[in-house]
């Protein structure tokens, strides 16, 4: 537990000191509890999401960074994307099977920005309506079948 907090503290400091383009930690919400973060994302210029603002909610368990955080889109604007369900759940392999403790909040955010940036057509996943009705609240409980990585 202590190591999880220590690492999150380090990550938070680094992100506040030196935030990557289009990624801002909402420190008002985050400083209340280190185990839940809110991060603001901006759609990258020159992509379908240019100028749009999104919010990510991170939840960290006591075994972080050995276990992945729970990451979902939250707030009023959920990006319309083939790997993002309308309830905010994200189908991205690094959030479950391909998680590694060398990844971080920053690298997750950058992966999500790049996932958005490479999108060619704004649409929901084909199984969106069924999934949203039947899924668990925690996307980590979903047995994802990962779509191709190119989209």
């Amino acid at each position: 537990m202590a190591s999880m907090e220590k690492r999150l503290q380090k990550e938070l400091q680094a992100l506040l000191r030196d935030p990557p383009l289009g990624v801002t930690v909402d420190s008002d919400k985050t400083s209340r509890s280190l185990s839940e973060w809110t991060v603001d994302l901006e759609g990258a210029p020159g992509t379908l999401y240019q100028g749009e603002k999104f919010q990510l909610a991170f939840k960290f368990g006591p075994r972080y960074p050995f276990e992945s955080p729970q990451v979902i889109f939250t707030g009023s604007n959920i990006p319309v994307h083939p790997h993002v369900y309308s309830n905010g759940h994200i189908c991205l392999s690094i959030l479950t099977d391909d998680w590694s403790p060398a990844l971080s909040v920053q690298s997750v955010c950058l992966s999500i920005v790049s996932m958005l940036s490479s999108c060619k057509e704004k649409k929901r996943p084909p199984d969106n309506s069924i999934y949203v009705k039947t899924c668990s609240k925690n996307p980590k409980n979903t047995k994802w079948w990962y779509h191709d990585d190119t989209v």
């Binding site: 190591s3 220590k6 690492r7 503290q9 380090k10 990550e11 938070l12 400091q13 506040l16 000191r17 801002t24 930690v25 909402d26 420190s27 008002d28 400083s31 603001d40 075994r63 960074p65 050995f66 276990e67 590694s100 403790p101 060398a102 990844l103």
Partner: protein, 186 residues
């Protein structure tokens, strides 16, 4: 929207002198890729990535069936990481007393260049004696293999045993020659 809290070490932003930045970069090279702290009980993987042993151990335990390097996804295992001993690390507690134990360093023996170092011509007799086959095989096998591992060193030249062996080898050589001649005549 989002506001920024000040980080909890107030000097970190204010006093960013060049030398401090440089020092920071330097120490970053020795940060564990998991806890992001300076690596303690450091180990390095074959792919060159640095970790605290406790951190890496916990990761290997997390996914025992798929052990990969957290940084580059190369295969990794307990036996294939190398502990790093910096100067002064001996002052600390014996790492073996810590849990989980850090894997030991491996000392490879220097390789011998010749197969039978220190033996001269006399060996020829031994080798031929195998071909004949009518001799106490085990005795010679054990004399033969001394170069490989922890077996006793060959007898010192001049010792009675050495003389015996030389005598025997000459006997074998003689018998081998005799045997070959006999084969040719027969």
């Amino acid at each position: 929207m989002a506001s920024r809290v000040t980080s909890d070490s107030p000097n970190s932003d204010a006093s960013g002198s060049a030398s401090q930045d440089h020092e920071k970069e330097d120490s970053k090279n020795f940060e564990c890729n998991i806890c992001l702290d300076t690596a303690r009980d450091a180990v390095v993987s074959m792919c060159g990535h640095l970790f605290c042993w406790p951190c890496l151990h916990q990761w290997l335990e997390t996914r025992p069936t798929r052990q990969v390097c957290p940084v580059c996804k190369a295969g990794i295992s307990k036996d294939k990481v190398i502990p790093l001993y910096g100067r002064g690390s001996t002052d600390q507690q014996d790492p073996r007393e810590k849990l989980p134990p850090r894997p030991p360093g491996q000392r490879a023996e220097p390789e011998n260049t010749g197969p039978f170092p220190g033996f001269g011509f006399g060996d020829g007799g031994f080798q031929m004696s195998f071909g004949i086959g009518a001799f106490p095989f085990t005795f010679f096998a054990s004399t033969f293999n001394f170069g490989n591992d922890g077996r006793p060193a060959p007898p010192q030249a001049g010792s009675p045993q050495h003389a015996d062996e030389q005598f025997l080898s000459q006997v074998f050589l003689f018998m081998a020659v005799f045997f070959i001649i006999w084969l040719m005549l027969a």
